[in-house]
């Protein structure tokens, strides 16, 4: 085990690019990225981590990481790509994917589920903002019932069917060592989510199995809400569909 | 037939070993001929569907492993006679299984040998050796390869099951005898 260090200020693994990287006000991809950077720095994984950016607004985190990185990769397929890297480079290399909810559990369902089933020693982070942010706010597999999006103008109903609880689903698979869901709506939630991220990465370091963390994440412009109201909406509406917590935490696969 | 090049089709239905018989011949021919091709023609359904292979062995480069008309056809399943009778060149040879044989060869420009492969193989103790009996009949009829070369390949392939090997060798030898006649 490496010595635990407390990170303050901007994480060292976050870099500034010569060109401005824009994000909408109140977007939480930056905060999710920050948690991961902090944990990578605390675990001293900066030298041997590869970051795979899926198709999501948050793919920018790949470019902002002072890590070997690739992204955007073909939509939904980051777990396939990460699996190949891990098999070829071996245990010493840490593979993380950063994906959106549409990326991971709509178009990339096969890739995610199969990687978990194979017990790939990779860690998948999925930001869940209940819509397709990059394309302008369409329905995602995670969109709540009755939630209005540009493709469910009357609200999600039985035409579209039900949302998918990804962390619980991934937790069902025998190859999964760890699956959890966090939010970052308060300092307490931030610290709890950070603990999940750290545990997930530790499962990979310890070579136990597949690890997964879903993070509820605000998308103010597409939700049509002020940033602060987004946090309230997550607490009041999203968490009832997507409860926070750990759904699987194994020391070894059986 | 020129001694420089031989072409033969083995035709049966899936599971009878037409492809295996052809492959044994091809592998054995490698010792004598620098150029050998084996082309299998099977359908998506494997069991009981028509299956054949073309084997060509030659001193010269084989331009095409597929040719429509060949020097000889060994029909392991008699129902295939109609299809393959036409695939033999004038002056060529057809060896056909007698079991279930209903059709007559209408052509007068080819030699036909009727071999009771299945019946003989059954008498030897295993109907599944009929393909090797027919391969033996081909070698006995054409003398295009020393039988020992094929025996070696049989020994390689069935080395783990002495009983099967023994029946196969006996079927092959019996085929050679029937082919000579």
């Amino acid at each position: 085990m490496t010595e635990r260090r407390r990170i303050t200020g901007t994480p060292k693994l976050k870099i500034e690019l010569p060109v401005p990287v824009g994000a909408c006000q109140g977007c939480q991809h930056g905060s999710v990225g920050r948690i991961i950077w902090e944990v990578l720095e605390e675990l001293e994984l900066g030298e041997n981590t590869i970051w795979i950016g899926g198709v999501t607004c948050g793919t920018m985190n790949a470019f902002l990481s002072d890590l070997d990185a690739v992204g955007p990769v073909p939509h939904g397929r980051a777990p396939d790509i990460g699996s190949a890297m891990k098999r070829l480079l071996g245990k010493e290399t840490i593979i993380i994917t950063y994906q959106g909810d549409g990326d991971a559990i709509a178009i990339g369902t096969e890739s995610l589920i199969q990687a978990a089933a194979r017990a790939e020693r990779i860690t998948v982070f999925m930001a869940n903002n209940a819509n397709y942010g990059t394309t302008g706010g369409q329905m995602a597999p995670t969109t709540l019932m009755e939630q209005r999006t540009t493709t469910t103008p009357q609200g999600r109903g039985m035409v579209e069917g039900f949302p998918i609880n990804t962390a619980e689903l991934v937790a069902q698979l025998r190859g999964t060592a760890y699956s959890a869901r966090g939010a970052i709506t308060s300092p307490a939630n931030y610290q709890r989510t950070k603990k999940y991220v750290k545990k997930a990465l530790q499962k990979q370091i310890d070579d136990i199995g597949f690890s997964f963390v879903e993070i509820l994440s605000a998308c103010p412009p597409n939700w049509g809400k002020k940033p602060v109201d987004c946090l309230k909406w997550i607490d009041d509406e999203m968490i009832s569909q997507y409860p926070l917590g750990e759904f699987r935490d194994l020391e070894s696969l059986n | 037939m020129s001694s420089e090049r031989f072409e033969v089709i083995f035709a049966g239905v899936g599971g009878m070993g037409a492809l295996t018989a052809g492959q044994l011949l091809a592998e054995a021919a490698l010792a004598y001929y620098p150029c050998v091709t084996w082309y299998p023609n099977i359908t998506t359904a494997r069991r009981n569907a028509p299956a054949d292979c073309i084997v060509i062995y030659s001193k010269e480069v084989i331009a095409s492993p597929l040719i429509h008309r060949v020097g000889a056809a060994v029909i392991i399943e008699s129902s295939q006679l109609r299809t393959f009778e036409d695939r033999v060149k004038p002056g060529g040879l057809v060896i056909v299984e007698t079991a279930g044989l209903k059709d007559h060869v209408s052509r007068r420009d080819i030699t036909v040998k009727k071999i009771p492969g299945l019946e003989t193989a059954l008498r030897l103790g295993n109907s599944r050796a009929a393909n090797l009996l027919m391969l033996g009949a081909y070698i006995g009829s054409t003398n295009t390869l020393p039988p020992e070369l094929i025996e070696e390949k049989l020994e390689d392939r069935f080395s783990k099951n002495k009983k099967v090997l023994e029946i196969n060798l006996r079927a092959f030898h019996e085929g050679i005898r029937l082919g000579h006649n």
Partner: protein
């Protein structure tokens, strides 16, 4: 040491890949290429190499993407429907500028088509089957030996250009057995893959590497903007077209009719040419080994000599378009196609007898 073994064209893929020091094979079963996947399952793990049976062809090509990004020689193999599923990521790999080898053992189409041979993916392979108008070098073997040899060339060219290379086989070349000599082909040395991702700590300069299939959208050190990317790719495609054309020409000197064929149809055509020559018919042949870049110059030169062309291909007429473009309207062009198969069922094929018949028809009078 040239060991001689008797294998089919699908197994020759494996022996060739091994000689090229391929590290990993990722594939999904599909007929008629299953011997490829099974060869790697049997032969790779015991040699410390990686074999993974993936969950789909879409998965396979993305495993390739991952393997290519870390700088390993990686490959997959598939047949026509699986080939279609791979297109998006092949396009992404061209954008990312990473190498890989894809073997396509063509079968009948469209749709589920047949599980047997055909040459119906010529157009999709040579014109960049996916989105965005890219190019891949496409090699077409016509024998098991050539499969083995071209696999090695494919890995070399993929690394040389940092671009996917396609080996375009077919169900007949794949399942037909022939003796092959195992031999390692030597190529010029290539620069180390300094761009490959390994974790920055494994690198002397300690600096991160960034790869992206969004080059043009995302500024990378190779291509800071979209127009730079387009220039880079255009130059690369032009380099390939200038340096990588390969073909085999036979008996063109006095030929009045020139056959043009690849893959198994080239074998049938060669046989037909030999028979025709034996009867004194002046026929020659051009067999493209690269179908992209296409050997246009030799076709053009022949066209200018006033020959007729007979294109032989087991599809409804795809390569014939390249022959038409290359001959610039200066030659009469005829076609033996999938409509000339010898029988109606899926096993039907273009036999040399049919090609000879057509040769005689075109050279009569």
């Amino acid at each position: 040491m040239n060991e001689r073994i008797f294998v089919n064209g699908n197994e020759a893929v494996g022996w060739g890949a091994l000689a090229a020091d391929c590290r990993a094979f990722f594939g999904y079963p599909i007929t008629p290429q299953n011997e490829v996947t099974e060869w790697f399952a049997r032969e790779f793990p015991k040699r410390g190499r990686i074999f993974i049976q993936t969950s789909s062809e879409t998965a396979s090509i993305n495993w390739l993407y991952g393997g290519a990004c870390v700088g390993a020689r990686v490959m997959t193999s598939t047949s026509s429907p699986g080939w279609a599923l791979m297109q998006e990521t092949i396009s992404h790999m061209v954008n990312t500028e990473v190498p890989c080898v894809v073997v396509l053992v063509q079968r009948g189409g469209p749709g589920q088509g047949t599980t047997r041979h055909a040459q119906m993916d010529y157009a999709s392979a040579t014109w960049g089957g996916g989105h965005g108008g890219y190019k891949n070098i496409v090699l077409t073997p016509a024998s098991a030996q050539e499969v083995h040899d071209l696999m090695q060339l494919a890995f070399y060219l993929a690394d040389k250009y940092c671009n996917p290379v396609i080996v375009l086989s077919d169900g007949i070349i794949g399942t037909m057995m022939e003796p092959i000599a195992l031999r390692e082909i030597n190529f010029n040395s290539l620069p180390e893959k300094d761009w490959a991702l390994r974790g920055k700590g494994r690198r002397k300069d300690g600096q991160r590497r960034l790869l992206s299939s969004g080059q043009g959208l995302i500024p990378t050190s190779r291509n800071p903007n979209y127009l730079t990317l387009l220039h880079t790719l255009h130059n690369k495609f032009q380099q390939m077209a200038a340096h990588e054309i390969r073909y085999e020409a036979s008996l063109l000197e006095d030929a009045e009719l020139v056959l043009v064929a690849f893959g198994y149809a080239a074998r049938a055509s060669l046989q037909a040419m030999n028979w025709a020559r034996a009867e004194g018919i002046k026929v020659g042949m051009i067999r493209p080994i690269t179908v992209w870049p296409f050997p246009s110059q030799i076709v053009k030169e022949e066209a200018e000599k006033g020959v007729k062309f007979l294109v032989v291909e087991d599809n409804l007429g795809q390569m014939v378009m390249d022959v038409k473009m290359a001959s610039e309207g200066k030659a009469a062009i005829y076609l033996v196609s999938a409509l000339d198969r010898h029988e109606a069922m899926e096993g039907g094929a273009i036999y040399p007898e049919k090609v000879l018949e057509k040769i005689k028809e075109l050279t009569a009078s």
